[in-house]
């Protein structure tokens, strides 16, 4: 358990639909300590998701590498489970089978698998829905299933790519609480991609700022937890928000243009 994640000179060059080459990531280098909650913030199309996908091993970097402890990331694996932006709960499996998915893939013995599944079903509050089809659940509940499935495989690092982006505000706040509880309980390293500064302030120990594929700032968030409304209204929090906005280049003029 507990490995340092280090990004070393990471480049990622993409082929655009028109055939042009696009730099999605440019020379990204940083290190993340075990158990940290890192939010990756940036505008859309500026490399956040690419960074996460390279870390997940879904995409090979064009240059550079990512190390998890001593090993170099070379493909997807259960040591870096990911929760996606879209709905990735398998509609053809019951809720329980969805959460068991990774465990079954790794051939975990039945008894152990059942107890792990029961634990995570309980942790995300879906025990009563264990035998439902995903189509019978709400969007927020399906996200809980995805979260539980990622947690259940027992990885040290959890990757989350704007997981709550499509949910309404109240469901999202509720899931933030669920996620923070799980994080405190398990002490996993969490990479959380978002474009929502408020979300980052609620969750993060540290904010990594990406602009045009470059790492432009690495901001520690040393606010007290829980990060309720008062904490987020404090001077420190407002300063962080201002720093982020300044880096992302939101000027008054642009704000008016939308």
């Amino acid at each position: 358990m507990s490995k340092v994640v280090s990004f070393e000179g990471l480049w990622c060059v993409f082929e655009h639909r028109s055939g042009q080459l696009v730099n999605a990531l440019q020379d990204v280098t940083f290190k993340v300590e075990p158990g940290e909650f890192v939010c990756v913030v940036g505008r859309s199309g500026h490399g956040k998701t690419t960074l996460l996908r390279v870390l997940a091993g879904l995409q090979p970097p064009t240059a550079g590498q990512i190390q998890l402890g001593e090993t170099v990331v070379s493909g997807p694996g259960a040591d870096r489970a990911m929760v996606f932006q879209q709905d990735t709960v398998f509609p053809w499996l019951h809720v329980r089978e969805n959460i068991e998915f990774g465990l079954r893939a790794m051939k975990v013995p039945t008894e152990e698998r059942e107890s792990i599944t029961a634990h995570w079903l309980d942790a995300v509050g879906l025990t009563d829905f264990a035998d439902s089809w995903p189509r019978e659940l709400s969007g927020g509940m399906r996200k809980r299933v995805a979260l539980a499935a990622a947690m259940a495989v027992g990885s040290d690092v959890i990757l989350m790519d704007e997981p709550f982006g499509s949910l309404d505000y109240f469901t999202r706040r509720n899931l933030h609480e669920v996620l923070l509880d799980l994080w405190r309980e398990t002490k996993k390293t969490i990479f959380f991609v978002t474009h929502d500064i408020e979300e980052a302030l609620i969750l993060a120990d540290r904010v990594i700022l990406l602009a045009e594929g470059k790492l432009v700032d690495d901001i520690p968030v040393q606010l007290s937890r829980p990060r309720d409304e008062d904490v987020r209204a404090s001077t420190d929090a407002v300063d962080i928000t201002k720093t982020i906005l300044a880096h992302l280049g939101i000027t008054e003029e642009e704000a008016i243009q939308g």
Binding site: G75, G77, F90, P91, A105, P134, R135, A146, V153
Partner: protein, 407 residues
């Protein structure tokens, strides 16, 4: 007797018994003495069928008395409820019935004013000609009974002469209504058995090949061109070659229908595999699933919903190939009945055959749909009235499932 526990075993057992009991009867001819079985030839008569029906129903009564009564009761209830259901249907959807009423009346009117033509039969026959006239449609189907020489089964050859006289041998005055129904039954059986064997072989082979090929991406790319070309070949036009090359037996049709369905389904399956959303595959991979495990547990089930169209269209293709194949070169089957009607340019006779074929294909698509919905019960329920199953018989002639697989 010990109760059979598993319902599947019970139903399969009944099916096996259905065939086995026929053999039991055949070889007990000496004991019963009501039908002849000589030198491997079984001369069928009505008492044989009565015996067969009794044995058929003896199975559920012996094994599951309560179930047997339940089945009989259910059948009875369905029959008794038919008038009420019809009344409800008329009340719920009057346009449907009015439309058909208008169409049928229109046909009848057209038959009154249409030119007689120079042929023996009217070009547009009215319903009394189709159904009741002794020179007309239905009664003339007894002519199709003529050519039913017999069927060779393993260990026994069936002869049908004692069920109803063959008009071709014994003169036109020996046409009988019995022969009409026997002809319809016999040829339906031949067509359906061709269809079922060919279709199921094609379905199984197509699904296996179509799911296996995309596992290796190089193989998928290599097979793209050949399969897509094969799919575009108008198979209906290739039927003459099929008879030329493969002959006219059950084997030939099976191979040909199977081939057509196989090609169609391989392309369709490969497409639905590549249309499985990437996010499911990526999610599975980050949860630690191996390539094979992801393929079996994510890609294969994920490809199923889109296969529905392909499945229905293969049914349509199978029907087209069977009927057209029989029309062009067989001496049994519904397609042959149509060809015989054309031979004497009897549109009335043709109409009966067409209606029977339409009825069977409606049934086929109903069953295919049912089977499919069971397979993907996890899917959200579908809505909308314009479902591909409504035109699967026509669209199946195309085998162009790549085009329109999104539902």
């Amino acid at each position: 007797m010990r109760r059979v526990q598993s319902p599947t075993v019970f139903w399969i057992g009944w099916l096996v018994w259905f065939f086995a009991s026929a053999y039991v009867l055949t070889f007990s001819s000496g004991l019963v003495g009501r039908w002849r079985f000589e030198e491997g030839l079984l001369y069928l008569n009505w008492s044989f069928f009565v015996g067969w029906a009794l044995l058929f129903w003896a199975y559920p009564f012996a094994l599951r008395l309560a179930d047997a009564f339940r089945i009989l009761k259910a059948v009875g209830r369905i029959i008794l409820s038919l008038p009420r259901r019809l009344k409800d249907a008329v009340k719920n959807n009057p346009t449907f019935f009015i439309t058909w009423l208008v169409l049928l009346t229109g046909w009848q009117l057209v038959s009154l004013v249409a030119p007689e033509g120079t042929l023996e039969h009217p070009l547009v026959p009215g319903f009394e000609y189709v159904l009741f006239n002794l020179d007309g449609g239905l009664y003339r189907l007894s002519g199709n009974w003529d050519l039913v020489g017999g069927v060779n089964l393993p260990g026994v050859s069936l002869r049908f002469g004692e069920l109803a006289p063959f008009p071709s041998l014994e003169g036109a005055e020996t046409r009988t209504w019995t022969a009409v129904w026997l002809a319809l039954g016999f040829h339906s059986f031949m067509t359906l058995s061709r269809l079922v064997v060919g279709l199921s072989l094609g379905l199984v082979a197509g699904l296996i090949t179509g799911l296996a090929i995309p596992y290796w991406s190089a193989l998928r790319q290599i097979s793209w061109a050949p399969f897509n070309f094969l799919r575009m070949i108008p198979l209906l036009a290739a039927i003459p070659w099929m008879q030329f090359a493969l002959g006219a037996g059950l084997r030939a049709t099976t191979i040909f229908i199977g081939f057509g369905v196989w090609v169609t389904l391989v392309v369709a399956t490969m497409n639905s595999v590549s249309n499985v959303p990437d996010r499911f595959i990526e999610s599975a991979r980050t949860l630690g699933a191996s390539r094979l495990y992801t393929y079996l547990r994510v890609i294969v089930p994920g490809a199923m919903p889109e296969l529905r169209t392909a499945l229905l269209l293969s049914g349509g293709l199978g029907w087209s190939l069977t009927i057209a194949g029989e029309f062009l070169g067989f001496s049994t089957g519904l397609g042959f009945m149509a060809a015989a009607a054309v031979q004497e340019t009897n549109t009335a006779r043709l109409m009966i055959v067409a209606i029977v074929v339409a009825f069977y294909s409606l049934l086929t698509f109903y069953l295919l749909n049912k089977m499919f919905n069971r397979m993907v019960s996890w899917m959200p329920q579908r809505t909308g009235t314009t479902d591909i199953s409504k035109v699967a018989g026509a669209a199946g002639a195309a085998s162009a499932v790549r085009v329109q697989t999104q539902e």
